[in-house]
Amino acid sequence: MKRAPRLVAQVALYVPLMALLGYLSTRPQFSVIAPDEALLRLSFIHAAHRAHACRSRSAAELAKLPPNMRAPLDCPRARVPLRVELQLDDRVVLEREVTAAGLRHDGEATVYFRTAVPAGRHLIAVRMGDRPGGGFNYTRTATLDLAAGSALVIDFDPAKGGFVFRS
């Protein structure tokens, strides 16, 4: 090929290539949540109660233990699984039992949940049970107006009395 046509051909190949590079670097756009939705997240870390109450060791039991381990109380370390429920209007969107971390399940339980919610007024109820025997001993219910593109985070802070809604 002659020089000039060749140059044209090179440009003809480079231009689409660069256009592709420029295009795919931002387009097509990605919707993390739809424009008419809000983001609802539940995130907390909490240690549940121990599964079994402490028990006094009898004198006979204590005698069997090596002297350095003769603690009067026997406290099994495992914690109960945390029960969590999240209700959105009349729908339960999360129902989960979270086992405590650690080999002996004696650590904290970590909860993270994310969902998109249509913008508007919603009844949001969150419940958590951290004791043996079932049931929920922490609950919080609120009716909130969630704007499109807003973010609601539900945290748990015992110092503030339980669940905290932050937006």
Partner: protein
């Protein structure tokens, strides 16, 4: 199935490359330099990144604003740098993926290539880590998405225990330390990319790590144009209190993150981990299409006359380059025809290449492309060196016969004079190929030293029944014209050693020795030199007076003729027997010597093992017949034509 995918991929690559060849020409086709281009772009990214870093404020308050400053106020430089950084990185990802795919399609990832493949995989991870990490830095809406999604993704791994994400969803947890950390990781991983790149190309013989300059220049201009036409911009400052909704998305780096929001983190780990594992094992997975024994094959390379091992699956070009043979090449991808050579013996898999670069006729005439072909047995390859040591180019010359002297009943001295008074430059020991009318060639060593360059002397022995020599002895006259190509060969006198030299000449092997010795005397080399000339009868020492005279004139030279077959009527008083026996009798320990052997294969084959057994080092043994003839399973007589066979 896999094979079909490979072939389909090859088809696509070859056709697209063919299209690009029309525009760029074979030698500057970017598609032949995908690896080197990715490498070059990495440097563009590093350089532009350094500039950005100089202005970047690693803090929650400063990050977004400092990038905005570069983009808006300093658009003409900072903005361009930012865009170069982004588009360069995108182009790295693109070319890297194409490079990977090409190696896969052409089945160039097995065997010894596993090392490049696996280190390439490490690069893939690192490049993605650096790129994704980069999107966290400008602290815009995309950064917010990428940071949170990364935390969500990594929280799936047991070691993070699900707590990572809490650092990124509460504004009070995002602090300046986080930005220092992200920046540190970004720079660290990029440096790791450069380090692993070095490892990656370590084992590729003479790997090109930069594309030819015109490609680099064009590419840079194109990226600059793109940077000006569509500058990279931020997408509004991050706001952890608000949700990220619809964002511009880099599909070169972030597709996995899109998937993360369609599937869950566990599934994405499964996909990415599984894919990595499969890719990592690919070099060892079936179908193993081993083409021969695991230890590979050997090839005799002419004009170097060297035997080189070719590893299983290795191209002839790579094997040669690995051994320092000056094979010509350019694209290494079957697209430029630069590496065309002749297959003189053996069978090969021709590989995939542009059909225009090797036509069916050429293939029929024994041509192949070194960069595409892999051996299917031991081979003999004839190539045209474009650069011999010292850079003297071989070319075709025309000469006239100046004199013909019968030096012995079967040895003719032919003096040639170059037409047009031209002069030829060569190294003592090199040879030329006389071009016959039917396209065949006959090789003869220069018998004159290079400083005598207005005429060329050849010693040609008559081969009974040989076409060319019969014609020469019976019909050629002074004044006849003749075409030859030269100078050729890498067998020449090495001046980088002080060791004494033992020259072993068999029959017309005296010709290159004469050239080397005359050159040595001319240069005044003080090394000790001994010539052993082995022939059958006294009359075969066709120029015996010459070395005898040298021995009288030069104290550092001695001459030992050795006859293998003297008759009583010859009254031969000097040495008899085989030439190498005579040498070993005189020099039981050869470890301090260099040996230059010139003669038939049989002679070299007989002498070489005997010499090495007596301490001669491989590096000190030079021969114009190839060194290990026995390795090539072929019929010897046609193989060696140096020093004068038909």
């Amino acid at each position: 199935m896999l094979k079909r995918l490979h072939l389909a991929g090859q088809w696509v690559f070859l056709h697209v490359e063919g299209l690009f060849n029309l525009a760029f020409g074979e030698k500057l086709n970017p598609l032949y330099y995908l690896g080197p281009i990715a490498y070059y772009l990495m440097w563009v990214v590093v350089a532009s990144g350094l500039y950005l870093y100089a202005f970047f404020k690693t803090g929650v308050q400063g990050a977004h604003a400092s990038v905005e400053y570069l983009t808006v106020q300093q658009w003409y430089l900072g903005g361009v740098m930012r865009s170069l950084h982004r588009y360069g990185a995108d182009a790295v990802a693109l070319t890297m993926l194409l490079h990977l795919t090409r190696h896969w399609c052409f089945d160039r990832y097995r065997g010894f290539r596993w090392f490049s493949w696996v280190s390439g995989l490490a690069l893939l991870w690192l490049v993605y880590a650096a790129g994704i990490n980069g999107y966290m830095l400008p602290w815009d809406r995309l950064s917010q998405f990428v940071v949170v999604a990364t935390a969500e993704w990594f929280d799936r791994l047991p070691m993070f225990g699900g707590e990572l994400v809490r650092n990124f969803i509460f504004p009070e947890n995002v602090n300046d330390r986080l930005f220092s950390l992200l920046t540190f990781v970004h720079i660290g991983v990029s440096l790791a990319v450069l380090a692993v790149l070095w490892v990656h190309t370590q084992r590729v013989p003479q790997a090109k790590t930069l594309p030819p300059r015109p490609i680099a220049v064009t590419l840079t201009i194109a990226l600059l144009a793109l940077s000006l036409a569509k500058p990279a911009v931020s997408q509004g400052e991050a706001n952890l209190a608000a949700a990220v909704t619809t964002i511009g998305f880099d599909w070169f780096y972030l597709p996995v993150y899109a998937l993360l929001y369609r599937w869950g983190p566990g599934e994405v780990w499964g996909l990415v981990g599984g894919l990595t594992l499969v890719l990592a094992l690919l070099p060892w997975l079936p179908p193993r299409r081993r083409k021969g024994p695991a230890e590979g094959y050997h090839m005799l390379v002419r004009p170097d006359n060297r035997i080189v091992a070719v590893r299983e699956g290795e191209t002839i070009l790579d094997a040669g380059l690995r051994e320092g043979i000056a094979f010509p090449y350019e694209c290494r991808n079957g697209g430029c025809g630069q590496c065309k050579a002749t297959l003189a013996y053996g069978t090969v898999d021709y590989g995939a290449y542009q059909p225009d670069m090797l036509t069916a006729q050429e293939r029929g005439a024994g041509k192949l492309l070194l960069c595409s072909a892999t051996p299917l047995g031991d081979l003999e390859i004839d190539y045209q060196p474009t650069a011999v040591p010292g850079g003297i180019r071989a070319r075709v010359w025309t000469a006239t016969v100046d004199a013909l002297d019968l030096l012995a009943p079967d040895v003719m001295r032919v003096m040639l004079r170059l037409e047009g008074g031209e002069r030829i430059e060569f190294y003592p020991g090199q040879y030329l190929n006389v071009l016959l009318e039917d396209g065949e060639k006959r090789s003869f060593s220069f018998a004159t030293a290079p400083h005598v360059n207005d005429r060329i002397e050849l010693h040609i022995r008559r081969i009974p029944g040989g076409r060319f020599t019969t014609q020469l002895f019976e019909r050629t006259k002074v004044g006849d014209r003749l075409r030859f190509e030269g100078p050729l060969g890498s067998f020449f006198l090495r001046e980088d050693s002080d060791k004494p030299i033992i020259f072993v000449a068999g029959s017309t092997g005296f010709a290159p020795v004469k050239s080397m010795l005359e050159y040595a005397f001319h240069r005044g080399l003080a090394r000790r030199m001994i010539l052993y000339w082995g022939v059958r009868r006294p009359e075969d020492l066709y120029l015996a007076l010459l070395p005898r005279q040298w021995a009288r004139e030069h104290a550092n030279f001695s001459f030992v003729p050795v006859l293998s077959d003297p008759r009583p009527e010859d009254h031969w008083q000097e040495r008899t027997g085989l030439v190498h026996d005579a040498i070993l009798a005189d020099f039981p320990d050869l470890s301090g010597y260099q040996v230059y052997a010139c003669g038939s294969v049989e002679m070299v084959e007989a002498t070489h093992p005997a010499f090495t057994a007596h301490g001669l080092r491989q590096d000190d043994c030079f021969s114009d017949a190839f060194r290990l003839a026995a390795r090539v399973r072929s019929h010897a007589p046609e193989l060696v034509r140096l020093g004068g066979t038909a």
